[in-house]
Amino acid sequence: MNGRAGAPQCVRGVPRTSRSTAAAGLGFGLGLRTPHYDQVAHGVEGVDFFELLSENFMVDGGKPLYYLDAVAERYDVVLHGVSMSIGSVDPPSREYLDKLAALARRAKPAWVSDHLCWTIAGGINSHDLLPLPLSYQALQMVIERVNYVQDVLERPFVLENISTYSTLQPTQMEEWEFINTLTCATGAKVLLDVNNVYVNARNHGFDPHRFLDAIDPDSVQQIHLAGHTDLGDHVIDTHDDAVTDEVLDLYAYTIARLGPVSTSIERDDDIPPLEVLLEELDHVRDIARDQQSVSLAS
């Protein structure tokens, strides 16, 4: 991005916030979903951490907060939101951020994440993760927003690459350039969703390895894995099935390049018994272990 007129720039070496959490791998985790609350609150083996959906616990009281406390007491947790709308032109909601900060004080997560997208325009919330143009204007705005959010939350913020189906004009850089400049300029980290990389590669016609090769390794805080629905000429990020072999191959490639990274599986629809997800997580753990063995041997 160096030297392009209008392009936000960043030179690596002076991160804005601490990178101390970057190396603190949590291991292998699951996105906690309602059908499993009770089982998890009473303790399960084979999971190193749970990822909690922030908005499910931004309530006044009752069972959600009871389960939050019970799970956070037993396990490492991270908070993962869907409603910050960091890419909206609408200013960030201070009320939302204050509630999130309060939740973070209560749950003591290793980190807090949301999506690199927008959901709200003109005060109307689509409740969907909508794409940003890969433009200088969008990048500059998101840099300012991330700095503001980190100031309010008083902790490093982690952003997930989303799956997209449309590309919005103008496209002035590649997605990984957008993300690398953003993390460099703000010290924010990346929640690298390998399934989303695969989905976007299929939907937009690029080699997913280009993305994985280009993303700054030091910026990756966590990896997401999830299932998708392959409709032949396009792929939908549905989170309603097991992680596919193609995505697991990309995950192996990613771990070989990055080394150990906290990894979690997301399932949001057709949620199976917890034991099924634990088996899937074991498989992911084996893949990561195999890649690390190969790295050490070489």
């Binding site: 908005e55 009752g62 927008w118 109307i124 189906y165 449309s166 496209t171 939907n203 396009h234």
Partner: protein, 271 residues
């Protein structure tokens, strides 16, 4: 995905205009594909944007169906049409989907649905269950706390209820209808009903409800708005003999304490 001209010369919509146009396209299926959606190889622009349109509606319909399973049971195949109309009429201004259906009961009263008022009352009952489920936590007082008030030489002047306690008077047999859904039975015929109900979250964090006695049905609204005991007794004196009121209040209070409805016992120095 190759780069085009820098922002200083860009002929495109501003980000604000672009997001407004994109959202308008999601909200109203009659609008065209937003101008900023780029033509790409493979799927056409329309097909790509339709993925977002479909997801937008499916997500919101899913929330309404999940929040209002008994309504969906009663209206059956008409639910999708009602949900679509609500989504069109009430775009979300909430951060959480938890609140998206807040206006659904009121909306149902405006529809041409047969028995729309009864269905709206059932939706109101389901929303009250949701509201009680995640209402704020608060301490709960028991009968020993009531004894302690007297032992301190003070007299009870009022009570504060647990934030989860709600009173509804749906006007129809919504609880019977809700049970029919829960038990997998066909919907029951609607009938008018004057019973008032209390809903609350118990100490086990489960949401419960029960029918109120006629006296409780009159007392509870006054407690919920913060009337003192003296004000409550004065208001009820229009209906009950003055000598009847203290034992009825004492009986209700004992039951409410046992059920975990009472958060605070207010007292003042005894005369």
């Amino acid at each position: 995905m190759s780069a085009t001209s820098p922002v200083t010369n860009n002929p495109y919509l501003s980000l604000r205009e672009q997001q407004a146009e994109f959202l308008a396209g999601l909200l109203d299926p009659r609008t065209g594909v937003p101008s900023s959606v780029q033509a790409q190889e493979g799927l056409g622009r329309e097909a790509r944007f339709d993925i977002y349109r479909t997801a937008y509606r499916q997500r919101l319909k899913g929330v309404l169906r999940s929040d209002h399973p008994a309504v969906a049971h009663v209206v059956d195949c008409r639910f999708d049409r009602l949900a679509d109309a609500y989504i069109d009429a009430t775009p979300s201004t909430w951060h959480s989907l938890r609140n998206f259906g807040d206006e659904f009961p009121k909306f149902l009263t405006t529809t041409d649905l047969p028995d729309s008022m009864a269905v709206a009352a059932l939706a109101g009952f389901e929303r009250s269950l949701l509201d009680a489920f995640d209402a704020p936590d608060a301490p709960r007082r028991g009968s020993s706390d009531l004894l302690a008030v007297g032992a301190d030489g003070r007299s009870l002047s009022g009570i504060v209820l647990h934030p989860s306690v709600r009173r509804i008077a749906p006007g129809f047999n919504v609880v019977e209808q809700w049970h029919a859904y829960q038990e997998g039975r066909p919907p029951v015929p609607w009938v008018g009903q004057r019973t008032a109900w209390a809903l609350w979250r118990g100490t086990d964090r489960r949401t419960s409800f029960r029918a109120l006695s006629p006296f409780e049905a009159m007392l509870l609204p006054r407690v919920l708005v913060g009337d003192s005991l003296a004000e409550q007794c004065e208001a009820l004196a229009d209906i009950y003999e003055p000598t009847q009121i203290p034992p009825l209040v004492a009986s209700a209070l004992r039951r409410w304490l046992a059920e975990g409805w009472v958060s605070e016992l207010l007292s003042e120095p005894a005369d």
